[in-house]
């Protein structure tokens, strides 16, 4: 292992992480809801009357953040996205992420941030599991195939 010092951004990543934690805390303290992106999306897709407004507001806010950053942030605040995966690989990956996060009832935000903050053993197991296959997948596609 060698550290990629050139792309290492401890300060902006920490500030970003703090904002993520602030958002997760606020959503729970204000609305009593867990900030889990796939859980929120699933609730929007399925017809549960009376439970959609807060989900839609949150998702619109999340979408708006991308628009605002695109138009008003200085270029050096934004990490330009580098997307290596091909179109077909992205489709496969999207399917796996959709299926996997519903099957495991959570993603990086719900299990990784909220779950770990609540000291949930269940979320710790989930986080270690998706990290493990994440590491393994990258090892296979970058160093084996």
């Amino acid at each position: 292992m060698t550290i990629d010092w050139l792309n290492f951004t401890p300060l902006t990543s920490l500030i970003g992480g703090v904002l993520i934690g602030v958002a997760a805390s606020l959503l729970f303290m204000n609305s009593g809801r867990i900030l889990g992106v796939t859980g929120i999306l699933e609730g929007l897709l399925r017809s549960r009357v009376g439970d959609k407004a807060w989900r839609l507001s949150f998702v619109l806010g999340l979408f708006a953040s991308g628009l605002i950053a695109q138009w008003s942030w200085p270029a050096d605040w934004i990490h330009a996205p580098r997307i290596d995966a091909s179109w077909s690989l992205l489709m496969l990956a999207g399917l796996l992420v959709g299926l996997g996060t519903r099957w495991g009832a959570g993603c990086t935000s719900g299990h990784g941030i909220c779950g770990l903050s609540r000291f949930s053993l269940r979320s710790l197991i989930a986080t270690l599991s998706f990290m493990a296959t994440g590491f393994l997948t990258i090892f296979l596609i970058r160093h084996i195939f």
């Binding site: 867990i34 999306l41 949150f58 999340l62 708006a64 995966a85 993603c107 990086t108 599991s129 990258i138």
Partner: protein, 145 residues
């Protein structure tokens, strides 16, 4: 008013994802690449997020209801089962292949990344297909595991 607050919480979350580098799949994949040029930035994202989350959820634990008056929706599940582990393992494969997790993909869609749209739509399909796949999978797993 609540809808406005939830919109702003989504906005803060999105800004956090953008600043932290989570919206750059290349950066996420570099974090997962332990055997190559490793970028440890995501440790700081998670560290910052969980640290603030511990405070937020800790504060909520002492209260009866959220600020909006709705009760806290504490996650009900606490057991560790096959679904949790297999689902999270599946999610990790998709996460590694694309470098996207659900929240950052949504933010990148707003920035006009066509590949983020493809990933996101495939993910929604995966979420919708889950019930169907789950039914069949359960049948197969009952015979094999």
């Amino acid at each position: 008013m609540q809808r406005v607050i939830e919109f702003f919480i989504g906005l803060i979350f999105g800004f956090g994802l953008l600043l932290s580098g989570m919206t750059d799949p290349g950066k996420v994949q570099s974090f997962l690449d332990l055997a190559g040029q490793w970028d440890p930035s995501l440790v700081f994202v998670m560290g910052g997020g969980v640290l603030i989350g511990i405070l937020g959820f800790g504060l909520a634990r002492g209260k009866k209801a959220s600020f909006s008056g709705t009760p806290f929706h504490w996650p009900e599940l606490s057991h560790i089962d096959r679904s949790l582990v297999l689902g999270s393992l599946t999610f990790g494969v998709g996460w590694g292949l694309a470098g996207f997790c659900p929240g950052p993909a949504l933010v990148s869609m707003a920035s006009g990344e066509a590949k983020a749209w493809v990933f996101f739509l495939a993910m929604l399909l995966g979420i919708l297909l889950f019930d169907q796949v789950d039914k069949r999978l359960r049948r197969v797993l009952e015979y094999t595991l």
